[in-house]
């Protein structure tokens, strides 16, 4: 596992998780990607989803299980996750473009339309993306959810932004 060495999940580690959708579901459009690999005592993602697409159950140390067909990619579960481990990936955002929605708790917030550096799980800038949405409703409690465009092949790489 490299995760426990440097904090970076590899794609193999990811694909083995029950909370990451399969390729087929991803191709259909916006869906949640939950990068929560350990048996930590936590479950706010479960009640956060109005569609019942995330199941943690009991004990709360279970790894969340995604019912990928129930998820419509609405993104309501992104901000409530205390581990900031939840993202929404939309492979059908544009012709060759995907959109990634991610939690963001830094200052200042980007503006809609702003070009930002798209960072991978190692924090390396791999693309210059455009911010297409900035959501900050009070129910998100100061965790903004930012949507940024990236090339399709980077949709499973980009997980943060830098202004």
């Amino acid at each position: 596992m490299t995760l426990l060495k440097d904090g970076v999940l590899t794609n193999e580690e990811l694909e083995a998780l029950p909370c990451v959708p399969g390729r087929e579901r991803m191709e259909k459009g916006a869906v949640v990607v939950i990068e929560c690999p350990q048996d930590i005592p936590c479950n706010p993602c479960e009640p956060a989803c109005p569609k019942g697409a995330i199941v943690v159950g009991g004990p709360i140390t279970n790894i969340p299980v995604l019912k990928e067909d129930l998820c419509d990619g609405c993104g309501l579960c992104v901000a409530p996750c205390p581990g900031q481990a939840i993202f929404v990936v939309d492979l059908n955002h544009g012709n060759d473009e995907a959109a990634v929605s991610l939690p963001y708790e830094f200052q200042p917030l980007p503006d809609k339309g702003q070009k930002v550096k798209a960072l991978n799980r190692r924090g390396e800038a791999v693309h210059e993306g455009t911010v297409v949405k900035v959501l900050t409703p009070s129910s998100f409690d100061r965790t903004a959810v930012i949507t940024v465009t990236v090339p399709k092949e980077l949709a499973m790489e980009v997980r943060s932004i830098r202004l």
Binding site: E105, F106, Q107, P108, R142
Partner: protein, 115 residues
């Protein structure tokens, strides 16, 4: 007067913008500076970039804030003439006089009546 803007967290994604709070003037080693009313002396000094609060008795080594909650005594200074004051838990007051302490410090400008 020293400027301390740089080391203050004025904007913060979770704490929000810092509210304007009344300022007081304190004198630190012959230099007057501004502090925010009610904040600990140590916070005011760190905001101004001051890191050395005292020098140790034997080896004359610099010390600064280590625990910030009054446990380690690293941050002791001479405040209003009283030595060994833990500045991380002592709020600033208008006109307070603060000295970098050398060794065990001395009672400054305070005379003790005999008898």
């Amino acid at each position: 007067m020293r400027k301390d803007k740089e080391l203050r967290v004025n904007e913060h994604p979770i704490l929000g913008s810092a509210e304007e709070r009344p300022r007081v003037k304190i004198k630190v080693d012959d230099q007057w500076m501004e502090a925010i009313e009610g904040e600990p002396v140590a916070a005011a000094l760190m905001a101004s970039g001051k890191m050395v609060f005292r020098y140790t008795t034997r080896l004359n080594e610099p010390r600064g804030v280590f625990c910030a909650i009054g446990r380690c005594t690293d941050c002791m200074m001479t405040v209003d003439g009283i030595p060994n004051v833990r500045t991380c838990i002592t709020p600033v007051r208008e006109g307070m006089v603060i000295l970098t302490q050398r060794g065990e410090g001395r009672w400054e400008g305070i005379s003790f009546e005999k008898g």
